[in-house]
């Protein structure tokens, strides 16, 4: 069954996502920051990565997705980005779409149905 890596410094989110995904039979591994995240990507070679934008510093998640994209071994892994920022105004703080290598985007709190359907679609 597919392996999913969740990279987020919020343990509650990891807990919740884990429960939902494992109930559908997915294997879930997690990392708390972008360094750990990249290490896990290399070691475990997941089939999908769920990434939070804001971790230790703003745009951490974006940097990690860029790093992943640079490495040809990991370029193909789909990336799902999650964030607490729902308001469009604060999107101004983010760089333009050009360099964001993500496949989809969801805002917290996530709904379990939506998570499952998105994961299914991306895999």
């Amino acid at each position: 069954m597919s392996k999913i890596l969740i990279v987020d410094d919020d343990p509650d989110f990891v807990e919740v996502a884990r429960l939902v995904l494992e109930s559908q039979g997915y294997e879930v591994i997690s990392a708390a920051d972008s360094d750990q995240g990249l290490a896990k990507v290399r070691e475990e070679k997941p089939d999908l990565v769920i990434l939070d934008v804001v971790m230790a510093s703003v745009l951490d998640g974006l940097h990690m997705s860029e790093e992943m994209h640079k490495d040809p071994a990991h370029r193909e892994i789909p990336v799902l980005m999650v964030t607490s920022i729902a308001n469009i105004d604060y999107a101004a703080l983010f760089p333009t779409d050009e360099y964001i290598h993500i496949d989809d985007f969801m805002s917290k709190p996530i709904s379990s149905d939506k998570l499952l359907s998105t994961v299914e679609r991306l895999l």
Binding site: D12, L19, S84, Y90, K108, P109
Partner: protein, 455 residues
Amino acid sequence: MGEVFRIPMEEKLSRRMGWLIRFRWGTALSELFIVLAANYLLPGVLPMLPLLATIAGLGICNTIFLLYARRLRFLEASAKQYTTFTHLQLLLDLVFLTFFLHFLGGLETPFFFFYLIYVVIASILLPRAGSFAYAGLASSFYIALLLLEWQGIIPHYNLTGFRIPVRFQQPIHIFTVSFTLASTSFVAAYFASTIIAALRDRGKELIEANLSCEVRAQELAELNVKLEELDKARSRFIYLVTHELRAPVAAIQSYLKLILEGYVPREREREFIQKAEQRALDQLALISDLLELARLEEPRAEVKMESLDLAEVLRGVSDLVRAQAEEKRLSFRVEIAPDLPPLKANLEHMKQLWTNLISNAIKYTMPGGTVAVSLTQNAEGIVGTVQDTGIGISSEDLPRIFNEFYRGENAKAMERHGTGLGLSIAKRIVETYGGKIWVESELGRGSTFTFVLPI
């Protein structure tokens, strides 16, 4: 201010000389015209040679003046030299005019009002006293001419066909003409100099206003830059707050939803409910801290200030936290220097400051460690320190440790629950009272927080 006025002044003076000299060329030409016209109308009446000689004399003088003016400009002469030169020119003008009038009928000439022209010029070029002086001089010159001609000391050139001479021998005529010229001169001097004085004042005001406008513009530009920075900082802060406030609520909602949807096995339900409850408490703490931060933004006037004994405040806070420290088997010491001066401050602020620093120390120190608090004073004011043998702060975290919501990685690892606002609040408090706060720390060895509050 003197500096500012000097240079344009000299430029102006030099230009004025040019104007005066050009005006004199005009005068000479007009006089020539008058003489030729009068000679045409009353042929043979006027003493042409002396008249032309006078006009020529004026022309020669003016050429000398022109050369001298160029010299002054080249030498960058002072205002004083220019003023002396102006006086010289005006005096000679009056002399030449007197000669001209003498040959043009003397005491019967209708042209004696020409003196007024020079009175007005004097008002424009010279300060007030100068204009009255020339009014007096002009009148004196003409009165002298009148008297000399009347007494026969110098010849009188009669304007035959224009006026009958006998009439003009009468003293009443002499007197009337003198009086008319003198009074008109002084009145003209008065009006002209008043107008010019007012114009000069406006000119000065304008220059000053301009200068202060420039200074203002500069200040405004600087303020604008600050405003932009503040605006950016504010946006960033709001962004952070939004993020931090959503996180616990999102977590609570997720946990509860999960339970409702049946993803949580029965035996783990309690665990999840507890997690949700804990997050709710975190949220409440966060909101309290945010409110505290907001309160600190209140202008000082609205906050209740008292004369506080910081030692008392410290003792009060210590008593409250002592139990916590003991529960963790920490050695808790408080040292207070004697005879500390009182500090004018708000009680709640001081309590919060101590509480935040001390509870941080207790929170991040392992059991068996030490927390030492001291309160003394030095030349700069009252000094408080909170030292611990806790987990310390890494060098990467050190510059950001006082930032809102910032928590070091090791702090998060040790204690999951924390708003990241404790030190920001402490810093705000200290800075509100004009003080400073800083930290020295070594990862794994401990930290020492120090603050100074000026008295």
